[in-house]
């Protein structure tokens, strides 16, 4: 039985991880269920053939899980990329509403909860949707799943970056740079 990563990865991660287990996170509530449903239709039509109908990946990479969420940092990070570059058949051509709806669907599949207000292409809102937090919640779910269903399992604690759990200069939304403990919820504001 692998040790949960949080227990050995430093105090900051411990706090973040424990707080997230099974409870609401700040990234929740930024899109509506109807919007995600619209996004699902658009996703299935425009994205699913490469990225999989369950976002599991195909010829294109998976669009769910900790690696995906951690790679982009915020919802705005995903939007800035895919609203320009995807789909290869018509890059940047789907229209703002469609991209936003698809993003809502992707976030919903990744475990973020719907709320009462639709998401828009407002960068300040999207950039505030912290996917590192969501990734930590996903990691908990993933390790539980690993123990029960898969043939291959990783034994022991997952190695972390040398700087993980240490203080790193971190750029804040206002442009200032502050020292923040790596891996804490504040590290990807």
């Amino acid at each position: 039985m692998p040790l949960p990563n949080r227990l050995i990865a430093g105090l900051a991660a411990l706090i973040a991880g424990t707080a997230l287990q099974g409870s609401a996170i700040a990234a929740d509530g930024h899109f509506t269920a109807e919007q995600a449903a619209r996004g699902q239709t658009q996703y299935n039509s425009n994205c699913g053939s490469c990225h999989g109908m369950q976002l599991e990946g195909g010829v294109g990479p998976t669009l769910k899980g900790v690696d995906f969420l951690g790679n982009w940092g915020t919802a705005g990070g995903i939007y800035d990329y895919f609203s320009v570059a995807m789909p290869p058949t018509a890059p940047g051509k789907l229209g703002e509403d469609v991209y936003v709806d698809i993003l809502a669907y992707i976030l919903s599949v990744n475990g973020l909860a719907a709320g009462s207000e639709e998401m828009t292409a407002d960068a300040s809102v999207m950039n505030a949707i912290n996917l590192t937090e969501a990734a930590a919640a996903n990691a908990g779910a993933a390790s539980a799943q690993t123990a029960t269903t898969a043939e291959v399992q990783f034994e022991g604690p997952v190695p972390q970056a040398f700087t993980f759990g240490k203080s790193l200069p971190t750029k804040q939304p206002d442009g200032s740079v502050q020292d923040v403990v790596s891996g804490s919820a504040a590290a990807n504001p």
Binding site: N5, G77, T89, V152, V158, P159, P169, K171, V177, N188
Partner: protein, 595 residues
């Protein structure tokens, strides 16, 4: 009714007689092999028959050149389809077909290997490797089976396969049955083969991938195994070399258990004159030195060329093409061995565009001494390279804070990428597919998880550099001094490796689905045809019964997808369509039957 039944029975009987053998991990009775097979010897690997293509780049100097000349500047206009074949699995199209003794060996994604009659396109056997089930949360590692399955190797009467679950498997070349199999590395940590092996003197020399996956911390390897048994003979760790204090110091305070990367993403080359094998090494992980914790250290042997003794794996020399990478600009690509002049005056070169930044280098391959370098596509990360080959970076582009975005050229998709260039001894020219591209790079912090990567970096979309409208480039580089012989620019990016031939042609293809034949002297496109999907993998050529064939893989291209916004007027298809197209000249161009 009776008639229909009879017809059905007759059809079934016929099918049973001509059914190819299916070899599987599970014991399935296979039909007896009908054909003989001429073993591939060590000498043949070093000096292959002109009409065959028996190693990844045909010869182990990695030149990607065939002396065949029936298809040439005059006759290329008469190419027509001989046969075509759908590949057995979707995924990044990086197949490198091999041909020996009339058989084509085709490696596709998910480690499916097929043997085809190279003249007719009939299937002879198929091997489907059974990969273990991985947790769905291991996104990066799951993707390894769908990418970069570029080559296999022929040795004796065997086909050597390096698998996505880090095994080496030797198949009987005539039947596809497993001869031996060894678990070379621990796939539960993330190890996975994505490139094929090099065969040298009864040894399988291979490089493991997956070294950007969290569980593989501390080790990334080039290794040699006995080609007759699969027993390991030596291994060389690209990120932890206690025999070299300079290597250890180059990671600063970072201990081996927090080091990643250093993946040798491309099959190495071999020089029998010195019994040396040459490998390119990829980027460090995490990508940013801020997150890595390595300060300004060069993090050896990432982004290096390493020269190893083929018998022992001992390092002879190493050369750093991009020290202290901060942008995932790996430098693992093809190392080509070229001799200039003859006798005592001969120069023994290693030429390469090693990294995504597109800078071309030549080294003395006996000493590792720097000879020349030259920029090809626009890049802003390397400020200068001095007379000794010491690389100075643009310090403005080294992020000093988490979430600090920098605009970097080339992009994470290159510049240069896995698509290999080809060298022609006719022109002493190295032909290289390249791309003009930039992206934003932003370091992030994440908790690493099993089966996932440790880049800790966010990349923006791939965009053209300022004031450049043509993203696709082929450069022809004189290897004597690195000067440009010619350059072809076009909107769509090139998505296949190149092939140079004795017919004076350079073949390659693009994201816009065009296969083209370029004049080796001028870059003029003498012939082109449009296929079903982006041109991919490794176009190659062979000759059977006096006819020269040109084999061209097509299919899904991550490079086409990631660059599509740079040429929106040419949409990339949504179907992947992984296929092989084989051309030959119309019969009036063939050699006479007596030849």
């Amino acid at each position: 009714m009776t008639l229909r039944l009879t017809t059905l029975l007759a059809f079934t009987a016929l099918s049973a007689m001509s059914l190819p053998a299916y070899a599987q991990d599970a014991a399935t009775p296979a039909a007896p092999a009908a054909r003989s097979y001429k073993p591939v010897t060590n000498d043949m690997i070093l000096n292959p028959p002109p009409e065959e293509w028996i190693s990844w780049r045909r010869t182990v100097d990695n030149q990607g050149y065939s002396p065949l000349d029936l298809i040439n500047k005059d006759t290329v206009k008469n190419l027509e389809l001989a046969w075509a074949w759908p590949m057995a699995a979707d995924g990044q199209q990086e197949s490198a077909p091999l041909v020996h003794d009339g058989m084509m060996f085709l490696s596709t994604n998910q480690n499916i290997i097929q043997a085809l009659d190279a003249k007719t396109g009939d299937l002879i056997w198929e091997y489907r490797h059974v990969l273990p089930q991985l947790p769905s949360s291991w996104g990066y590692q799951l993707n390894q089976a769908r990418r970069q399955k570029n080559s296999i190797a022929l040795y004796d009467d065997k086909v050597i396969v390096a698998t996505a679950d880090a095994k080496l498997v030797a198949l009987d070349a005539a039947t596809g049955k497993v001869d031996w199999e060894t678990q070379a590395f621990d796939t539960s940590k993330g190890y996975s083969y994505t490139v094929g092996p090099l065969i040298v003197n009864d040894k399988v020399i291979s490089a493991i991938s997956g070294c950007s996956i969290a569980g593989t911390a501390g080790g990334c390897f080039i290794a040699a195994h006995d080609a007759k048994t699969g027993k390991e003979l030596w291994r060389f760790n690209t990120i932890d070399d206690p025999k070299n204090p300079e290597q250890e110091a180059s990671w600063g305070d970072v201990p081996p258990e927090n080091r990643w990367g250093g993946t040798p993403w491309t099959t190495g080359s071999y020089d029998p004159r010195t019994n040396t094998t040459f490998w390119g090494i990829g980027m460090p992980g995490p990508y940013s030195q801020l997150i890595r914790g390595s300060g300004e250290g060069a993090v050896l042997y990432t982004n290096n060329t390493v020269a190893l003794d083929a018998d022992t794996g001992e390092r002879k020399w190493n050369f750093s093409h991009l020290p202290a990478d901060n942008w995932d600009l790996d430098s693992p690509f093809e190392r080509i061995l070229v001799d200039e002049g003859e006798g005592d005056a001969a120069k023994h070169l290693l030429v390469t565009v090693p990294g995504k930044d597109g800078i071309a280098f030549a080294l003395d391959r006996d000493t590792g001494k720097y000879l020349w370098s030259r920029e090809t596509v626009y890049q802003n990360v390397v400020k200068s390279i001095d007379a000794e080959g010491k690389v100075t970076l643009n310090s403005d582009l080294v992020p000093t804070a988490v979430n600090q975005e920098v605009f970097v050229c080339t992009s994470v998709s290159g510049g240069k990428l896995w698509m290999a260039g080809a060298y022609s001894p006719r022109t002493q020219t190295y032909y290289v597919p390249l791309a003009e591209a930039c992206n934003t790079v932003t370091p992030t912090v994440t908790e690493f998880t099993a089966g996932n990567a440790v880049g800790a970096t966010k990349f923006g979309p791939r965009v053209l550099p300022p004031n450049i409208t043509d993203g696709g480039v082929v450069e022809a580089i004189n290897v004597a001094d690195g000067s440009q012989k010619w350059r072809l620019n076009q909107r769509p990016t090139f998505t296949s490796s190149l092939l140079a031939t004795g017919g004076g042609l350079v073949f390659g293809g693009d994201a816009g689905r065009f296969l083209m034949a370029m004049d080796e002297e001028t870059g003029d496109v003498l012939w082109k045809t449009r296929l079903n999907a982006p041109i991919g993998g490794y176009p190659m050529t062979y000759e059977i019964d006096g006819e020269q064939y040109l084999a061209v893989p097509t299919g899904f291209s991550a490079q086409a997808g990631s660059s599509a916004s740079m040429f929106p007027e040419i949409p990339v298809p949504s179907g992947s369509g992984n296929s092989l197209f084989v051309f030959k000249l119309r019969s009036d161009n063939a050699k006479t039957a007596s030849n």
